[in-house]
Amino acid sequence: MARNSNAFRVGTLLVLAASLFAGVVSAGDPQAKEAEAEMKFGFKAARRGYWQEALMRFEHANELTPNQPRILNNIAVAQEANGLYEMALLTYQEGLALDPNNNSLRRNYTRFQEFYASYVAPQEVVDEQGAKDAKTDN
């Protein structure tokens, strides 16, 4: 009886590990492999502060395997780091539309919204007002 339960435990764990690896590595699909390599490279570049390179890599990964919330998450973060705030907002929304329960995406989006609302949006209002004033002056 005990031997059977042990065998079941080992079996379950093997299935779990195999399925996780299958999901992560996506063996057999060359595009998925290339996208994964691009994600890894982009992550390394991001960690070193090379955010333009990181953005390029993540975007390439997105071209190879589109509609992946994790890739869109990385693209949005890289867009933020490059000062492309409006684009980051759209990318976060696109990612959340695909996977509303993705915790990393949701957390990042919430934090970004706070930043956007307190720093970027008021500035835009000021810029718009300035443009209006200039038009009125002319």
């Binding site: 764990l13 890894k40 992550f43 991001a46 500035q123």
Partner: protein, 230 residues
């Protein structure tokens, strides 16, 4: 023994797979462009720093001290943190109005300062300082972790210090037109016993400092984001 080793290896593989698929937190510096488009070659004149008039109240010594200290503080921030070129204070300015809002309409006043000092831009402000000395009890909601019910409890609130409301304007000295206006509020907590001492009124006011610097130069905001490693 052998089975245990296999089990351990499988668990380790599972953990490795999970961690490899996860996200990691990274720090990024988000750049914010300055609110005023300047190239750093402009000459700035600081003044006048005015006291916001209050209806039915005379100017008090705290107002005078706050205005004087704010001018010193502003000059320090603009020179040290924003690295702007400031023109030394030349003579005592006598504005034709005590209201900064009214002065803003008077383009000739600003143009005259520009001609006299040679400044490209003029940074002026109006300051309203209030001494807050509030202490008392307030009722707040409290959810008990024991039974999950909501109760009301009395909480002692102390708010003592200086409350600032500052209107900062930047005026083009050539045209006499305001190119930027900003309302900034901040609070300097002070011990109740030191409320009569008008010293260090603008020490460690990070909100005020950030807002002031952000008008003239780009600044970076450090944030954390989750990034997938593969």
């Amino acid at each position: 023994m052998r089975k245990r080793t296999i089990e351990l290896v499988v668990i380790l593989l599972a953990v490795a797979a999970v961690s490899a698929a996860g996200s990691r937190e990274v720090r990024i510096a988000l750049l914010l462009k300055p609110e005023l488009p300047i190239d750093g070659t402009e000459d700035f004149y600081v003044g006048p720093i005015m006291i916001e008039p209050r209806e039915g109240e005379n100017v008090q010594s705290v107002d005078l001290t706050a205005a004087r200290e704010f001018e010193i503080y502003l000059r320090k921030i603009l020179r040290r943190d924003a690295q702007l070129h400031l023109i030394p204070k030349q003579s005592e300015l006598k504005p034709p109005s005590t209201h900064l809002a009214a002065l803003l309409i008077d383009g000739d006043f600003w143009k005259a300062i520009g001609e006299e000092t040679g400044a490209d831009l003029i940074v002026a402000a109006s300051i309203d300082v209030k001494i807050l000395d509030r202490a008392g009890y307030t009722t707040e909601e409290y959810v008990s972790p024991q039974d999950g019910k909501t109760y009301f409890r009395q909480v002692m609130i102390e708010e003592t210090g200086f409350s600032y409301d500052i209107l900062l304007v930047v005026v083009d000295a050539k045209t006499g037109v305001a190119v930027h206006q900003e309302q900034i509020s901040d609070f300097q907590p002070k011990n109740e016993r030191k409320l009569e001492e008008y010293t260090d009124m603008f020490t460690d006011l990070y909100t005020l400092q950030n807002r002031l610097v952000g008008i003239f130069v780009p600044r970076a905001v450090q944030v954390k984001r989750a990034l997938y490693s593969n």
